[in-house]
Subunit: 311 residues, 2 copies
Amino acid sequence: MDQLPARDPVSGPRSLLDRLFDQGLLVRTGVDGLYGRSGEFESVVEAVDRIATRLGAGDGAESLRFPPGMSRPAFERSGYLKGFPNLAGTIHCFCGNDADHARLLACIEAGTDWTGGQAASEIVLTPAACYPLYPVAAARGALPEGGLLFDLQSYCFRHEPSLEPTRMQMFRMREYVRMGSPDQVLAFRELWLERGTAMMRELGLPIAVDPANDPFFGRAGRMLANNQRAQGLKFELNVPVNSEDKPTACLSFNYHQDHFGTIWDIRQADGEVAHTACVGFGLERITLALLRHHGLDIEAWPDAVRDRLWG
Amino acid sequence: MDQLPARDPVSGPRSLLDRLFDQGLLVRTGVDGLYGRSGEFESVVEAVDRIATRLGAGDGAESLRFPPGMSRPAFERSGYLKGFPNLAGTIHCFCGNDADHARLLACIEAGTDWTGGQAASEIVLTPAACYPLYPVAAARGALPEGGLLFDLQSYCFRHEPSLEPTRMQMFRMREYVRMGSPDQVLAFRELWLERGTAMMRELGLPIAVDPANDPFFGRAGRMLANNQRAQGLKFELNVPVNSEDKPTACLSFNYHQDHFGTIWDIRQADGEVAHTACVGFGLERITLALLRHHGLDIEAWPDAVRDRLWG
């Protein structure tokens, strides 16, 4: 891990989150991990997103954009609830009549719980940008010879209220997703490990690439996490943002083997189950890493960093 | 209402929605009103969004971007559930242990309902881009002499599954919101009625500006809707998209009087309750109107329209 800059631009008695509020870069909503963003904050998010576009521009990815929700049946089939039931968000709706409506309003008036009558809709919040993609790809039939490459971005939801600004409940993830043979998807992951590392260095950020695991739930989850690490399936590009001891994963590089290919019956051209891999950019996290290391005054960032973002 | 073009570029036996799927502009998810968007579709959405930015560029609006969810306490206080309980979406989460998790997975395996144990979180989906703004503005204290102007955009949710492509459950709304005296906010609404009308004409769309009402729920809602019309509080800029008989509201111009000012105790500089108004651009709806009237081949759109979007 590189050293933090000697002159720490945002150290001080107040937390990073408080300083982001003070500066107006993030806006309080009353819920931990749910924030408004200023126009300035957004200009960095958009610039990082454009860099990700430029890095992948020559690869011929198909660009798709999904809304922040996905089909509940697809979500159930995806297996997400096996690993991360605690992070998922289901969308519930009112299906009552005038009398039910009156009762609901009376509960709100009295300050008592009114949500018991809400019924699960067909939509759940997207947990990672690539989850809505797999059923769409599967519906197209077997992959072409060279496999497929997609470019995605969406708001994602994870129910993990936190005071660390890098752990938002609603945040944007940019992704490239590769589907094909094991060789094809591993080459893709290798390429993006190099590209992502170079990108972050050019943005003047101290980084480390580390093996990682997803935060699988419960007792059974520990074994899944250990397996994932032992097999080298997940790497994260970490930057100290909230603290030096617990750096923040700003990009992640994931080899799913045939996990999604089997679930969705996605086939390679030769009939074998497809392998998949993805690289994910945490757009808010990269933005926060830039603010943490170059200071909260974006106008005063080093010229080289500003040129890379807006040049 | 202007006439539809004599040569209807997307008429035919298949519905507009089916043709959008056929062309790959929208992508099926299995849920009515929830669709993926192609890169081409998004390029139009982004171009319309940029026009809205240019039109308001000289006004000094403060730009804020909220995620697609907002605080549930703020949502309850906003009054949205009085008018539109049926459209709201609450986000529910799993709070159980390993045993609860095993039961949840067994339900999914058996194809029975597993959502009963989900508990309401502190977050609800944003129903209109301006709803998260009012408590933020209120927390800043009384308005300055000239009032305030905000620029917003977010994904919004309304639970109204439909086969009309213009009635999506998740869609993006760009908004300008004015807070101040009645004169200030009415002048703002008038200005945007003119700007919005000119914008849509320059995009080659046949439009009508009509008085309108929100779709208030239930028996009591009918009276609210009638009042809103009688007082001329809401106007919509309509374009035939799905049909000529039922044109689609692509922009709306809303004078809230002191509704939000009273709920949130937002005060003018002189201590009077603030009035508010907003103009909302339905970004997907304007995009669909362009596709409907200029054809599904975006490259073949009239030069004047393409220049306005990308010139």
